[in-house]
């Protein structure tokens, strides 16, 4: 099976600047190589989707962008990931700052068992913002951006857990937005939601991409097709390491992909 190693694409002209560049990334869990030979250029203020069959390393790749993989014991990273040209895995890099600039929204909404207000204010408070007026402003702005304000403006002091599933997920998005990230990572953000809530989150993503670079992992191909500008297709090789098979404009991936494996996957004939 030939594997095209270099899908390294410098930013296409007129297509937005490259916000994050991955070069020759490999990720190991102990001796096991989970990701190999990943090269990827994520365009600024666009939505990039990562698709592929279960277990192909999509989440591992996503968690590399904000160094959440550091939390897994035995995890080792080779290669580099550059945010605005600076390698986030360079020694001496401030991980806390990376995690502020690269926010994350998880598969299952996970609001803290605190009030809605305190959930969103958690991030800013971490960074030393304590004045009520400042926090009020940030909280309101972030909840507005997450298209949740009308629904919660009168109950900011109720528990975050009292909201519905879709609302909780939007709360988590507001929480991530409150620290003004530059990149937002979304790990299957709507997989636990009903179709209407899913569509609302997708509409929200389209709004957010005006200001943020969004990278989303999804096993729902139709969602990737609907929402993203670029799609990266991943698959595992014979050594069970995840590799990037194809990376192109979403329109191309879903109407005339170049690699047969991609074609098999999007037409549902894979496996």
């Amino acid at each position: 099976m030939e594997i095209s190693e270099s899908v390294f694409k410098p930013a296409v002209e007129g297509d937005g600047v490259a916000k994050v560049n991955i070069k020759d990334l490999a990720v190991y869990y102990g001796k096991f190589r989970a990701l190999a030979g990943i090269n990827l250029s994520v365009h600024e203020k666009r939505i990039t989707a990562i698709i592929g069959p279960s277990g192909c390393g999509k989440s591992t790749l996503l968690r590399s962008f904000n160094r959440m993989n550091d939390l897994t014991p035995g995890c080792r990273v080779q290669g580099e990931i550059s945010l605005d040209g600076e390698n986030i895995y360079a020694p001496g890099v401030d991980v806390v700052d990376i995690r502020r600039r690269v926010g994350m929204v998880f598969q299952r909404a996970n609001p803290f068992p605190k009030s809605i207000y305190d959930n969103v204010a958690y991030g800013p408070r971490l960074y030393g913002i304590h004045r009520k007026a400042d926090l009020d402003e940030i909280v309101e702005k972030s909840i507005h951006q997450a298209a949740l304000w009308e629904e919660v403006k009168d109950k900011l002091h109720q528990s975050g857990l009292s909201l519905s599933g879709g609302q909780q997920q939007r709360l988590c998005i507001a929480r991530a937005l409150a620290v003004e990230p530059e990149v937002i990572l979304m790990d299957e953000p709507a997989s636990a939601l009903d179709p209407i809530s899913t569509l609302r989150i997708e509409e929200l993503m389209q709004e957010l991409k005006k200001d943020y670079t969004i990278i989303i992992v999804t096993h729902n191909m139709q969602q990737a097709a609907r929402v993203s500008d670029y799609t990266a297709m991943m698959m595992i090789d014979e050594q069970r390491a995840g590799r990037m098979i194809e990376y192109d404009h979403t329109n191309i991936i879903f109407t005339r992909p170049k690699d047969k494996r991609t074609e098999d996957y999007v037409t549902g004939r894979f496996g």
Binding site: L199, R200, E203, Q222, A225, R226, T250, N251, F254, T255
Partner: protein, 223 residues
């Protein structure tokens, strides 16, 4: 909801309208160039036809992308499928206009058998029908779409007239048979344009109701 999809649909409709007006113009220009014996203008028709073909394929690609990425259902699906159909119809109408231009070039310096009256009238009528049918399609105006096919009778009537007139010419002087043939061919193309306009109206009704109903004209189609 689905703002992106909505704007994609609107874009496609706009493109289709644009294609339609290109074809309309093409029909009128081809007949005008024949009438005026303007060979250059006739040759220009060929260039424009290439643009029409390119635009048709561009629309097709956009529709495919919309279907692949937006999973349209029900009305949306019927609309997109119909846009594909209509783009094809328009392209073929463009080919009819090109055929007319071919006749004009072939005729070269030879004089017309008579000053063209009915043929330009057919062109006007067909182009006008096309314009209104497309407008009805874009606006999903079923009422208007139901009324337009009946006007095909008028075009058919003009065709019959032209046919008989040309036959008379040939009977009187067998040597004019080549030119008569060509002119008949022009009339035939224009009559086909009107027929295809009927198809567009059927599609408009299909989008709204989900049913394909052939709207036959009152005179038989025996060309």
């Amino acid at each position: 909801m689905r703002k992106t999809f909505e704007s994609e649909i609107q874009q496609l409709k706009d493109e289709l309208l644009l294609l339609g007006s290109m074809v309309e113009q093409q029909i009128l220009d081809s007949v005008e160039s024949l009438k005026q014996r303007d060979i250059e203008a006739s040759r220009h028709i060929y260039k424009t036809d290439a643009q029409i073909n390119a635009k048709r394929y561009a629309i097709e690609e956009q529709v495919m992308i919309a279907i692949a990425t937006q999973q349209p259902m029900a009305h949306d699906l019927r609309l997109l499928a119909s846009i594909l159909e209509v783009a094809g119809e328009l392209e073929r109408m463009g080919d009819y206009a090109k055929g007319i231009a071919t006749v004009s070039i072939r005729m070269g310096d030879q004089p017309l058998l008579k000053p063209l009256i009915d043929i330009p009238r057919m062109a006007q009528k067909s182009a006008d029908m096309l314009h209104r049918a497309l407008t009805a399609f874009i606006n999903e105006d079923v009422a208007a779409a139901r009324l337009i096919p009946a006007e095909d009778d008028e075009v058919d009537g003009l065709y019959t007239q032209v046919y008989h007139e040309l036959m008379m010419f040939v009977i009187q002087d067998a040597k004019v048979i080549e030119r008569a043939n060509w002119l008949l061919w022009v009339a035939h193309n224009l009559e086909r344009v009107a027929d295809r306009v009927t198809n567009i109206c059927e599609r408009t009704i299909f989008i709204a109701t989900g049913e394909i109903k052939e709207i036959g004209s009152s005179s038989d189609e025996s060309t």
